[in-house]
């Protein structure tokens, strides 16, 4: 990694212009419908300046204190997954020729545009790395994912604002982004001074940094940068953590626990947790056609293990009860994912906690399961 350099706010606009000129479609954070969401951007005025989020189980609030920070929020409801594995996409369409009855099938290919993500957090870089395991690194590659992923330019931003649902430190990555980015920024706003520390970790990143220009960080600048990064780490570490010790065995031993039913009394089986999770990857396919029967389309869309159709085999759903669906989700995410991919499927972003409509917090649930199994052992 090259030495950290200094950017002022104008450099960030230069970055957008440079990436645009290089043919990237840039996505970044914006405030919409009382939440920070990701969308196309080309000007820094579109960023959510001054907005900060407060999150807790089942609750997300935005407020603005008028400061100029562009990345002063922690995380919004959406993850970058929506660009790499779109919620809905057509896989192919087919048409029957009225005269010859010949069927033409045309595959729907991804647009093939180069994408740049601005403002990606450590937990989200971690999540993309986990999705790479699923879509790229296995025996079968998902060509659509691979095409989107290939030219991805990541501008990470280290967290300067932490909410109570963050627990990335439990899951081994963050809140500082250590790898997997092209450029990484730390935003500093102190005593009226507003600047960024910028580091490059790839050839692409270094070349963009060179084109954008930069200044040298003074020793006092460096101290401010370190303080932002250290404060964020301390803040996450003071949050409730997810105790991962012996977690695989904990879940395997708890498969028949009565606890799952107690959880199901609260769980709505609505699938929100899986839909906001940045590493969940399940999808289904549906066929549709026109009434004449001459045109057909196959669509792929996000699916969830909380749906009845998800485990439908001949004759019915294998996991009919909410208890069995919750057990499936959490056991896979935290335990059997390790068997399957060699690491946990959770990145500690806390979205499933904030966006659960009835505030179920997996950190508390794992702890309760532990207590239950300890008591059973006694």
């Amino acid at each position: 990694m090259t030495e950290c350099r200094k950017w002022n706010v104008e450099h960030l606009q230069t970055l957008l212009d440079v990436l645009n000129a290089q043919g990237y479609c840039i996505y970044g954070p914006q405030l919409r419908s009382d939440a920070v969401v990701y969308g196309e951007i080309d000007a820094i005025e579109q960023l959510p300046a001054g907005w900060h989020d407060q999150q807790s189980a089942g609750s997300y609030r935005m407020d603005s204190d008028g400061d100029p920070q562009l990345f002063g929020y922690a995380l919004g409801p959406q993850s970058w997954r929506k660009y790499l594995q779109p919620p809905r996409e057509r896989l192919w369409s087919a048409k029957t020729n009225t005269d010859t009855q010949a069927i033409t099938v045309s595959e729907s290919k991804p647009a093939g545009k180069k994408m740049a993500f601005l403002g990606i957090r450590a937990c989200e870089v971690h999540a993309i790395d986990i999705q790479d395991d699923v879509f790229l690194n296995g025996t079968i590659q998902d060509n659509r994912y691979a095409a989107r992923r290939e030219n991805l330019f990541l501008v990470a931003v280290n967290c300067g604002h932490v909410v109570s649902t963050c627990f990335c430190t439990s899951m081994g990555e963050g809140p500082k982004v250590d790898a997997g980015f092209d450029l990484c920024l730390t935003e500093v706003y102190k005593n009226g001074e507003h600047f960024f520390a910028v580091a490059a970790a790839s050839d692409c990143g270094r070349s963009v940094l060179q084109v954008c220009g930069s200044a040298k960080l003074s020793e006092s600048d460096k101290r401010l940068v370190t303080k932002v990064e250290r404060d964020a780490r301390l803040a996450v570490e003071q949050n409730v953590q997810l105790n991962t010790e012996g977690i695989e065995q904990l879940f395997y031993n708890a498969s028949d626990s009565e606890y799952w039913q107690e959880l199901a009394d609260r769980c709505l089986s609505c699938a929100n947790c899986t839909m906001v999770c940045p590493s969940c990857f399940c999808s289904n396919t549906t066929d549709s056609g026109d009434v004449s029967g001459r045109k057909f389309e196959r669509w792929q869309q996000w699916d969830s293990c909380f749906s009845a159709d998800f485990s439908y085999l001949h004759g019915g759903s294998v996991r009919a009860s909410t208890a069995s669906r919750y057990r499936q989700w959490l056991s896979h995410k935290l335990a059997s994912w390790q068997q399957q991919f060699g690491r946990s499927g959770c990145v500690g972003c806390g979205r499933c906690v904030s966006w659960c409509p009835v505030g179920i917090d997996l950190r508390a649930e794992v702890q309760a399961l532990r207590l239950r199994s300890h008591n059973a052992d006694d």
């Binding site: 839909m275 906001v276 749906s307």
Partner: protein, 269 residues
């Protein structure tokens, strides 16, 4: 007859002559039947594939049964309805109930929680002319229903999908997800979590593609309860976190599908 056996019986019919479609109205506002007329771009294709034999909303020319596919709108709410639904069933090889009235009794099922004679005396100048049942009930309570399409009104894309899959003799792929799944696929930030709106989306059957949340309005629950509907947990949360009172919760649940969202016992206030 289920979808599987229909594959055997209906395909020869489709090859000889067009299958006959009938649309029936019971206690309802006509909105669901209108969804068929709203299929402006697809209506010609429907008419090419099906003989629209009985559809009073579209044409006063009606032909005799039996019918291959019957779409039934509305709830059973009069003594006459009780007899008529039996006749409709006898004449229909395949019966699909459409909309919240037909599948759950509709808004008029609010009467199920009150005394019908009180209503009649207040509403009508000459109550003696009124012949009605004490309750409004779904079609499936009276006859066998082969498929139910939910919603107030139904979604035209789902209706076309059911017609199309019927013609091809395959099972409709109608999702049993919650509305939340469609909200998330549309990338809408949750209105319950971010705006404290009292939303029925988490316990409501999908099918509308999150129409209301897309316009920043919490779900009214017009598609009725979803699979594994946990009304108790949702209402407990709305009571404790959004301070909704018991009458407010009752009102929230008792709208389009008043008889199908079963009210739990609420905690004391």
């Amino acid at each position: 007859m289920d979808w599987q056996s229909r594959i055997v019986t209906a395909i020869p019919t489709a090859m000889d002559t067009k299958p006959k479609l009938a649309v029936w109205k019971f206690a309802s506002c006509d909105g669901c039947q209108l969804s068929l007329l709203d299929c402006e771009d697809e209506l010609l294709a429907v008419a090419q594939q099906l003989d629209i034999a009985h559809f009073s909303e579209a044409s006063s020319q009606v032909s005799e049964g039996p019918f291959d596919l019957s779409l039934v709108e509305g709830s059973v709410s009069t003594p006459d309805d009780l007899e008529r639904i039996q006749k409709v069933r006898q004449q229909s090889r395949f019966l699909v109930s459409i909309g919240a009235c037909a599948s759950a009794g509709g808004i008029q099922a609010l009467r199920n929680y009150a005394d019908i004679s009180d209503y009649i005396s207040v509403v009508y100048a000459s109550p003696s002319y009124i012949s009605t049942l004490k309750t409004s009930t779904p079609i499936s309570q009276h006859v066998k229903v082969d498929f139910e399409l939910r919603g107030c009104p139904i979604d035209k894309h789902q209706l076309l999908h059911v017609i199309q899959t019927y013609l091809q003799g395959r099972r409709p792929q109608i999702s049993s997800d919650s509305v939340c799944v469609d909200c998330k696929r549309n990338q809408i930030p949750c209105l319950m979590v971010s705006q404290q709106q009292a939303c029925l989306g988490p316990i409501t059957h999908a099918g509308c593609d999150a129409l209301c949340p897309r316009f920043n309005r919490a779900c009214f629950g017009c598609f009725g309860p979803k699979n594994n509907c946990n009304t108790r947990s949702l209402t407990a949360w709305l009571q404790s976190e959004q301070a909704l009172s018991k009458p407010e919760l009752t009102r929230l649940l008792h709208t389009f599908n008043s008889d199908s969202f079963v009210e739990p016992e609420y905690a004391e206030e």
